[in-house]
Assembly symmetry: C2
Homo-oligomer: 370 residues x 2
C-alpha cells in the first residue's frame, strides 16, 4: 500500500550567475606577468630543481596572487598522463545492501589517490553500460585501473589487459598476469578453523563460497588444511557450497544439520547469519549445540546474537594498497606483476563458545601458532 507524491520540476528565482573570478589562466599569462618564460613557469609549477630560488619565489608569488591552476587536460595531452585512475566496481554493487565493503574500498582508494595527486574515476562493470573500462582506457582518459574483482572471472578483465593499461586487481584474479592485493584467505581460514578445532569440536562443517570465486576457493583450502593438520579427515557431507549470500547460508545449514556438525565455519558473515537463523529454526542453540564462525567481520557480525567469531579484513586498507601498488606499477611500466597480501585479524566473540577469556586464549593461540 502506498501513496505516491508527484514529481515536480520547478524553477528557482534567477540569480546573477556567479561570474568566474577573473584569474590568469594560462602558463603564458603567468610568464608575462612575472617576466620570465613559459618554460620557467612550467618548471616552477612542476617543482623542477633547475630554477633559481629567487625566480621560483617570485613566480610562485605571482601564481598565488593570480590564483593560477594548470589545466590538467592540456597537461595530459602534452605529457601523455592524465593522473586519473579508474575504479571498476562489479555488477550490482549497490545490491550488496548493508555491506559497506564497496564504500570502504572506494574510500580507501580515494584516500590513497588523493594523497598521491591522482583522481578516481568510477566505472561500473554492469551489463548494459555503454562505456566499458577497456574503452575508457583506450580513449586515454585514465593512466591505470583498479579492478575490483567481480565474483567470477570477469569478462571485462581480458579486454582491459589487452589495452596495455596498468591494472591492479582487488582480490586474486583468475588471470595470473595481473598484479593484485588481497588478504590471506587461505591462512585466515586455516586459523579460524584451527580455533574451532582447538576448542574441542570434531565435526566441523564448512559452508563454502562459490567455487568460481578465488577467495572462496582459498578459504576452502584453508579449512581443509586446518582439519588435516589436526589429524582429522574432511567429511564431504560436512561441506556445502553456497554463494556468500544469507539465503545460501540458510540452505547450506539446512543441508548440513542432518549430518550433525558440532561447529560450522561459514566463508562469509552473511552466510553465517543465514546459518544462525536455520540453527535457531531447528531449535538448536549457538554456541551450546553448534559453534559458529564467519569471515569478513562486517558490522552485522558484532550485532548478531550471539556476536560472531570471524576474520576481520579491512576493505579500506585493500583499496589504499591497490592504488599504491597501481601507482608503483605505473611508475615502472615494465615491472613484473606483483601481489600484496594484507593482514587479517581473528576476532573471537561468543558464537564459537570459547569459555576461555581473551587473554588466555590469545596466549594459547600464539603458542599453538609458532
Amino acid at each position: 500500500m502506498w501513496e505516491r507524491s508527484q514529481m515536480i520540476v520547478g524553477t528557482l528565482p534567477r540569480w546573477e550567475a556567479g561570474r568566474k573570478a577573473r584569474v590568469a589562466s594560462t602558463l603564458e599569462e603567468i610568464a608575462v606577468l612575472s617576466g620570465v618564460s613559459r618554460s620557467t613557469v612550467s618548471r616552477v609549477i612542476n617543482d623542477d630543481p633547475r630554477v633559481s630560488e629567487a625566480t621560483r619565489e617570485h613566480v610562485l608569488r605571482v601564481v598565488r596572487r593570480e590564483g593560477y591552476r594548470p589545466n590538467l587536460t592540456a597537461r595530459g595531452l602534452a605529457s601523455g598522463r592524465t593522473n586519473v585512475i579508474a575504479a571498476v566496481i562489479p555488477v550490482g554493487f549497490e545490491n550488496v545492501l548493508s555491506d559497506p565493503y564497496f564504500p570502504s574500498l572506494l574510500h580507501g582508494m580515494a584516500t590513497a589517490a588523493d594523497a598521491q595527486d591522482h583522481f578516481l574515476m568510477l566505472s561500473l562493470g554492469e551489463p548494459g553500460f555503454r562505456h566499458t573500462v577497456d574503452e575508457i582506457a583506450r580513449q586515454g582518459v585514465v593512466d591505470g585501473v583498479v579492478f575490483s574483482a567481480s565474483q567470477t572471472d570477469d569478462p571485462l578483465l581480458s579486454p582491459l589487459i589487452a589495452t596495455g593499461t596498468p591494472v591492479v586487481s582487488v582480490g586474486r584474479p583468475d588471470d595470473a598476469r595481473v598484479s593484485f592485493v588481497d588478504v590471506d584467505n587461505e591462512g585466515s581460514a586455516r586459523q579460524i578453523t584451527s580455533h574451532l578445532l582447538r576448542l574441542g569440536h570434531r565435526r566441523v562443517a564448512l559452508i563454502a563460497g562459490p567455487s568460481f570465486a578465488p577467495a572462496a576457493r582459498d578459504r576452502s583450502h584453508g579449512f581443509r588444511s586446518a582439519v588435516a593438520s589436526h589429524g582429522l579427515r574432511v567429511d564431504e557431507n560436512l561441506v556445502y557450497e553456497g554463494l556468500f549470500s544469507e539465503a545460501s547460508g540458510r540452505a547450506g545449514m539446512r543441508a548440513l544439520l542432518e549430518h550433525r556438525p558440532d561447529a560450522v565455519f561459514a566463508a562469509s558473515d552473511r552466510m553465517a547469519a543465514g546459518a544462525l537463523n536455520e540453527i535457531r529454526a531447528a531449535g538448536l542453540r549457538v554456541p551450546e549445540d553448534i559453534a559458529l564462525a564467519g569471515f569478513d567481520d562486517m558490522p552485522l557480525a558484532r550485532e548478531m546474537e550471539p556476536p560472531l567469531t570471524t576474520v576481520r579484513q579491512r576493505p579500506e586498507r585493500l583499496g589504499e594498497a591497490a592504488v599504491n601498488l597501481l601507482l608503483d606499477l605505473m611508475a615502472d611500466p615494465n615491472a613484473t606483476p606483483k601481489r600484496v597480501m594484507l593482514p587479517t585479524e581473528l576476532i573471537v566473540r561468543a558464537s564459537c563458545g570459547s569459555y576461555l577469556n581473551q587473554e588466555t586464549l590469545s596466549r594459547q593461540e600464539r603458542g599453538h601458532l609458532q
Copy 2:
C-alpha cells in the same frame, strides 16, 4: 583478542607484457588510411551531418577495422569540454554503515552519466583531502559537479560555485543559487504524520533530524503542519531534536517517554530503530502501546520487529535525476537554477498499528488527501 597475519609483498612470475594491439590511434592516421582529410574523419566521428553517406560509410569501416578511438584528452583540450562530471560525497561517507544510500546514489549517477556519454569522477569531501572539488573544477578536469549535500551547509560549496562550474545538489542546499534534486520532505512528513493521526493517535511525538540539515527542517515542518491541520497543537515536550543516528533516536525516545506519547514519528529509520530499542527497554510494546514511524525505508525498516511504517525514497533515482539535471544545465550555461522533486511512497507496515487492511487504508487515505 586477535592474531594478526603478516603483510606479504611478493612477485608474480614474469609474464610477457601485453603489447598493445597495434591500432591506428590518431585522426590523422585514419584520414590517411581512408584517403580523406582529418576534418572529414572528425566529422564522421562526431556525427556531423555534412558528410556524404558514401564517405561516412567508408571512413566508419576504416575506423572499425583499425579499432580507432578518439583521444578524449585531446578532444577535451580542443573543445573545452571533458565529458567528465564530479560526484562529491560528503565527509565520512563510509561510516554510514549498513546504509546503502550513497552506493545507490552513486549507482544512479553512474547509470545516467554513462547513458549520456559522460564519466563520473569521485571526489570525497573529507577534511584532509588535498584536492578539493573547487580546485578540481578550476583545473578543467570536470564540466560539472553533482554535490551530494553534507548534513551541514558545506564549506566546499561556496568555493565551488565561485568557479562558475555548473553544480547540482542532491538535497536542498542552504544556498538558493544552486539547482537541486530532492524528495518532498515536507509533504512526505505531513503525509506519514497524518497517517498516525488518522489512526486515532493524539499525542504524536517527533524525533526530528538536526536543524542544520534542510531535509530535517522540512520534515519537521511537515510534521507540524499535519498536526495543525488535524486541529491539534504541537506539544513542544513531544519534540526532540536528534542527529539522524540510532543513538540519538534512543536518547530522544528516552526523553520523550516521560511525556507519554501514543505515537512517534522519527525523521529517519535509524532514529526509529533507536527509539524502538528504548521503547522495548521501558517495557512497552510497539505498536500496542506506542505507534512508530520512520523515514527513508532503508532495508533495516523491513527487517525490524515489528516492520516499520516509513516513507520510501529512492536514492538511485535521485542520483539519476541529479546527473540529468546537471547535463541540462551544462547544455545551457546561463539557465536559471532549477529544482526537481522526486516522488516518495508511504510504506505502511505493522509498527504504526494499522488494523485496517491495506486496501481499505489506501482508499481512506486517498479520500482524505484530495
